[in-house]
């Protein structure tokens, strides 16, 4: 059911990333996402970065619509439907959280639920540059350690967060890894963790239209990310040729990750 909500607050989390909060009363769990409609513009899947009380999404300015979202202000109206999808299992264990870029958005509420339930948390975050590290301060009080990595070395480890993870996972023992970020990153995390027998849960993104498991836009192997995911066991993903290799554009064509979008006829010609 779609509902129109008013943005109740806006927080600039990083130079490119903004959190918008809004009132909602449908039950939501960490890992789930909503379809967020910017009236007059597009509708995009967005993970809930806050699942209780005033709900929230944390959006990184990427293309035109996400940039538009980050410019929304308190009092602006947005359309919301969902929450959709499955959730992270927050049963108390020792979890290594690995967030890349805006991927940390979906992991933060899961981390809070984990720790509240008595679980243990270690955090590794990566970003292009220091100021872009998302939710480091939100996670710090929950974690026994917060490891940071930046591409430009401006904060924490100089390099990929995957390097940090590869090291951590052999030195410390974790019950499971949660990760969200670029698919190539998640794939490396999965490889590192599976080598030492630690199960990994990845939150995956695909182009979405219906979000109710019918249109096939989000097809990933035999799964629909909108209904069967977005959280998948790494072991399942590893067996899919598409994982970290290809996704589908709005027409349904498979594209390798990182390739420029092909030209496509406008819809009504």
């Amino acid at each position: 059911m779609r509902r129109i909500r008013t943005v109740t607050s806006r927080v600039q989390e990083t130079p490119s990333t903004v959190t918008l909060r809004f009132f909602d009363d449908l039950p939501a769990a960490p890992g789930q996402f909503v379809m967020l409609w910017v009236p007059g513009d597009d509708e995009l899947p967005m993970s809930l970065s806050f699942c209780e009380g005033e709900r929230g999404v944390t959006v990184k300015s990427m293309g035109a619509t996400s940039a538009h979202i980050t410019r929304l202000q308190e009092g602006d109206k947005i359309g919301v439907r969902g929450p959709y999808g499955n959730q992270f299992d927050v049963a108390p264990r020792h979890i290594l959280l690995v967030g890349g870029g805006s991927g940390t958005a979906v992991l933060a509420p899961a981390a809070e639920a984990l720790v509240r339930g008595g679980g243990e948390l270690t955090v590794a975050l990566g970003a292009t540059t220091g100021p872009e590290l998302l939710f480091a301060e939100r996670l710090r009080p929950l974690a026994d350690a917060v490891h940071l990595a930046t591409d430009d070395g401006s904060e924490g480890y100089h390099g990929f967060v995957t390097d940090v993870v590869t090291r951590l996972i052999t030195m410390q023992s974790f019950d499971a890894v949660w990760t969200c970020g670029p698919e190539v990153m998640m794939s490396k995390v999965e490889a590192a963790a599976s080598r030492v027998g630690v199960p990994v849960w990845c939150s995956v993104e695909r182009h979405m239209k219906c979000a109710v498991g019918i249109c096939d836009a989000c097809a990933l192997g035999p799964f629909h990310v909108c209904q069967d995911g977005p959280v998948f066991p790494g072991a399942t993903l590893r067996r899919l040729e598409e994982f970290a290799h290809s996704h589908r554009d709005p027409s349904g064509r498979k594209l390798p990750f990182g390739s420029p979008p092909p030209t496509t006829l406008p819809p009504s010609s």
Binding site: M1, R2, I4, M35, W37, P39, G40, D42, E43, L44, K77, G79, R81, K209, C210, A211, V212, G213, I214, C215, D216, A217, A219, G221, P222, H224, Q227, R248, D249, P250, S251, G252, R253, K254, P262, T264, L265, P266, P267, S268
Partner: protein
Amino acid sequence: MADLRTRVGALELRSPLLLASGIWGESGVSLRRAYDAGAGAVVSKSIGSEPRDGYPNPTIEEYGSWGLLNAMGLPNPGMVAYRGELAAARQGGAVVIGSIFGHDASEFRTLALAMAETGVAALELNLSCPHAEGLGSEIGGDPTLVTEITRAVKEAVPLPVWAKITPNAADPAALAVAAVAGGADAITAINTVRAMAIDVDLQRPVLTHGLGGLSGPAVKPIGLAVVWQIYERVQIPIVGVGGISTVDDALQYLLAGASAVQIGTAITHGGAGLFSTLNAGISHRLDELKIPSVTALIGAAHRGTQSV
């Protein structure tokens, strides 16, 4: 155990439940998942000559358990890119019906030739999408064009051709008659019903395209009436579709005159498992009614009733 097999013309089907076009149709693996779950056949996404993104989101409006409004805008990767998906779908023996759409008879013919090469078991002509300019029901609402397009495709390919007609017509059965005139082997009915959602807070239409098509339980009584009326007018098999989500929904379409049925929107709630659940349910229900086979039901509700 009741016999679930049926046939649509020459095409034999292990179950009367098919996957409708546009549902799980972008990816060949998804199509195969539906077939592996027990579908009698799967209908591909409607494929055009070129890749199409479809309309921008929002493309969907949900109405709780009774309906779904969509204006996807016929997104599809185009015939060339889709071959690979069809190959994936047909791996393991899935029976695939290839759905195509075009602007005119010659585009339909070209697509039919390309689709036929992929090894599909039949073609379904989308003459009925209610929300695409110059396509779907805009041409499929004209009986002359329906005949012309059907004939062009029939002349081009040796496959069974199913004409999928629109309920957005004064007399949908007349469109079926037009398809028969063009040589159609079966009629598929119905596509979605033209509809719209408007938001009060925003004072604007919800779907980017404005108009869309309604599907799901709400359209079942509408689809049944269309199939009933077609059955009274044509001799070729009918494939019923619209709002089927339960065993009795499917059987009602058979009683109205359908030889097989397609399932679309219900997949939202039922997933692939719906096919095995419904297959088992139909078998059980037929046993309960002491009816030996699915085929015994086809058109049975017309018996003893005066033409209505």
